[in-house]
């Protein structure tokens, strides 16, 4: 599977995961010059959730979540603020989550979802 397709499939699966837990999806692949936010959602209690999705087809290069390093974490924080400002939501409660999606050969996925990690 091509990396891009894998990434978008991972985002689909995480989107479903969030919807099952009563979240509304506000945005997907929101892109500005600085970078991209994979998913923006709103939790049932009104909190805005920014989600970084990391998909992998094996653990050969480490755990999916290990790919989120300090530089990426900082960028995510800046992007989250940028989204809030452009959507007149600055000041609303928000959190940044990370989701690692691991696909096995038979197509099953395993979602490792971590809340409020940044």
């Amino acid at each position: 599977m091509k990396n891009q397709a894998l990434g978008s499939r991972g985002e689909d699966d995480v989107m479903k995961y969030l919807q099952q837990r009563g979240c509304t999806i506000l945005d997907r692949n929101w892109r500005i010059k600085e970078g991209e936010i994979d998913l923006v959602a709103q939790s049932p209690d009104g909190e805005i959730i920014f989600v970084e999705v990391k998909s992998r087809s094996s653990r050969k290069f480490g755990d999916p979540l290990e790919a989120v390093n300090a530089v990426k974490a900082q960028r995510l924080q800046r992007l989250a603020l940028a989204w809030l400002v452009t959507h007149s939501a600055f000041g609303r409660p928000f959190r940044i989550d990370c989701a690692g999606v691991l696909y096995s050969i038979d197509g099953r996925n395993e979602i490792d979802y971590r809340e409020g990690v940044l």
Binding site: D63, L65, E66, V68, A73, C98, D112, R114, E115, V117, L118
Partner: protein
Amino acid sequence: MTLARVHTIALVGLVGHLIEVEVDISEGLPGYSLLGLPDAALSESRERIRSAFLNSGLPWPNKKVTISLSPAWLPKSGSHYDVPIAIGLLVAQGVITNPPPESQVILGELGLDGTLKFVRGVLPTLIAALSFNASSAIVPMANLNEAKAVPGFEIVAFNNLLEVVDFFTRGQIPDEAATEDQIESRDYLDLIDVVGQLPARKALEISAIGGHHLLLIGPPGTGKTMLAERIPTILPTLSAQESLEVSAIHSVAGSLNQRGVLTRTPPFVAPHHTTTTTAMVGGGSHAVKPGAVSLAHAGVLFIDEAPECATGVLDSLRQPLESGQVTISRAVNTVTYPANFLLVLAANPCPCGRFNGRGRACTCSSMQIRNYLKKLSGPLLDRIDIRAFVEAPTRVEMASELLGESSACVKERVIAARGVAAERFKGERWSINSQIPSSELRGRFKAARDGMALLHAELDSERLSARGFHKVLRVAWSLADRAGRTIPSREDVEAAFIMREGTFL
């Protein structure tokens, strides 16, 4: 359990500090932070531990790992924290369900394949651990010999990380590696090999009896080094306490394996004359390592070609010569090592080395000859009690079938004479002649009346300094002890004077 707590020891010099290693695994992005002032080798521990876990088939936590080494203010250095951190990680992940007891200290470096590797300073570390009421220790198999030298300790040694896991989960103790027989590396040296050299032999013996520092002067190839190397063979063997002290210093320096654990032979250390002050007295930026003066503790420090040394290097010996210890201050900490050694300097009589006898072969100018020995500074020379001239053996001596005395024979006399001195100084702060305080030499420990008169005359004629006066008396005591006299006679004082000043005018 997501929080684990194990114990290890940090060494600062020879002083240990109990270190609590706390490992916490919490939700969050995968990460590893090591707190508590780690140095470079310690910061690299993550890579070693991670590879060791993966290659041993142990789970690596893909969570936020926080490791704290407390007390946090103490700068920590070295690689022996790998194994305690690894065990902490295994406990925190629940792989090991019964954690190590409070009274257990853990030491060891990890290889990428999970082997436990040799670390320095295990001996002093465990001695320090005793004072923190520790009763057992986990060490790498390569350190087992050394660790077993510490009395009253239960030692468990491992080859690799999986054995450690087996031990904690099933109580399985790995077989101990066969211990190699210890070799006394200098056993083959003996004074019997030295041809002739009667005055120098006597100087060596007196030096060994009283612990008097020695300067050997002679042309190259006459046997200065040969003589000096044999001094440890005529010194009394080290006591158990001294042996432990010496082994502890060598353990920190990483030279214990060459020397052998708890070797009773006094050490012989011969730094090259190009050595730096730091190598001589000890130093280093994060872990302050012992220098040559401390490695020679309770033994002999031999400096060949002493006038070729940088002046600062020789002068740095003055403080340890006075106090028997050396204190080194660095930005991270201040460390004191014992440095109570017998100093033996060797020098050529002139730069070309051939100014002996009538000096016919010498190519040096008279100025060069005069300046050569001046490179040994006055204050240092003042601390040398005995000067001995080493001449090339004569044809008769070379051809002689008669052998000189053996080390064992001389050592017997040295031990006997030291015994006499120890008996005399019972209840005092010192036990050998070179340590008699000056005031006592003018009071309780005077020489015979005519001997003292001789020295007073020398003082009056300004041929002898006040320090020289006391030094001569100390050597005279050693001569008297060797001859079995209860007080130094006029002859002893005279002989001591010649030994110190070279000539008697």
